[in-house]
Symmetry: C2
Subunit: 192 residues, 2 copies
DNA sequence: CGGCTAAGGCTATTAGCCTTAGCTTTATGG
DNA sequence: CCATAAAGCTAAGGCTAATAGCCTTAGCCG
């Protein structure tokens, strides 16, 4: 029994590879173990919470990856240009890794790690919103709106909910315009 | 072994009751069967596709319910008023039945029945958009944007992705305003 | 009224999964 | 060089979905 030298990160790597290949339906400890070259129970040495924790770790990883892409897209841009780039990067990630994106909502309740990752993602959006003079509570509301649009479109397009023949890219462009227009006329509470 | 007189509809009823009580995680043929007062394999007489088909039927039912609520909300209103009412009704449904809403994306690929139900839901939105002078392809793009916003916000709020203390209702109001503003200035292709 | 058929139950079984318990081996540090 | 902790293993228990095959009920038709 040669020692494989597994780490929790590597377990998640294998799980992601499996999800990419066969979808979240196929995510099972047995198949992850097979990919890692290890017996199923051995996984518990690294992912003590079993399948539920693995799903949690996957959500954290995916959120981090997504935050990275958004941050990359935002750098060097501002205003409508930045918002557009961020939304396109979001959709590009979801399109390129549909199964990973689908795995996102399969996590249990948000915990500390996931919150940290999500906070970083939100931070990118909040930073971009400063270009519109938004901060404080209104920036939070605006960031939630951005996430709703990005996630809603990604989720629906991935699951095949948009069945008609109209071009999805055009829809996405319209959606971005709607968002930037809304951000320009966002309520700006009087400072005290 | 008294005959229970089950129908596919009643199986879905039991499944929904179970989901409402214990979440989609708890949806298993065994527990549905127990609730229906029947042995597990007997369910296959009514839901021949097993668990996957049950999930499909649930998605169809939930989509129909949602379409009903949206239609109710839209009747007698037009323009911003109608859009606002429809979005509020959407969110109200998701909030009141969070587990049902979560069950929605767990369905397999869209089939004929689900498409029919979704078409009715989209029809309500398209009808409302006529108040903005939108039809044809642009109405499709606009309807997709509406769905993205509604679904994204519902999905994220239900899963607890919005963790900060800012009021969710305020966010929703802002989101609605963003949408109605965008609809007013939507591109209107020249008619030929 | 008698019997046939089909539908709707059942039990038994198989296959696969998650999880826990306890043993064994490897690697490492003193 | 040995002790110990980490990382692997096998075994076993309990759950699930799904299939196969049997039995009984209900209803219809002659």
């Amino acid at each position: 029994m040669p020692r494989v030298g597994l780490t929790p990160e590597q377990v998640v790597d294998h799980a992601l590879a499996l999800i990419d290949d066969q979808g979240t339906e196929a995510l099972t400890l047995a198949s992850v173990a097979a990919r890692a070259g290890v017996a199923t129970p051995s996984l518990y040495k690294h992912v003590s919470g079993g399948l539920a924790e693995l799903r949690r770790l996957i959500a954290v990883r995916v959120t981090e990856e997504l935050a990275d892409r958004l941050a990359e897209a935002a750098v060097g841009r501002s205003g409508d240009d930045a918002v557009t780039a961020v939304l396109r990067a979001y959709q590009a990630y979801a399109t390129r890794h549909p199964h990973r994106y689908t795995a996102l909502p399969q996590a249990p309740q948000p915990d500390e790690d996931l919150t940290r990752a999500a906070t970083r993602l939100v931070g990118v959006i909040i930073a971009v919103l400063r270009g519109y003079g938004l901060d404080g509570s209104e920036a939070i509301h605006a960031a939630r709106t951005v996430r709703s649009l990005a996630h809603g479109f990604a989720s629906l397009s991935i699951t095949g909910a948009f069945q008609l023949t109209e071009d999805l890219t055009t829809t996405h462009d319209r959606l971005i315009t709607t968002l930037t227009t809304g951000l320009h006329s966002w309520p700006r509470p009087a400072k005290d």
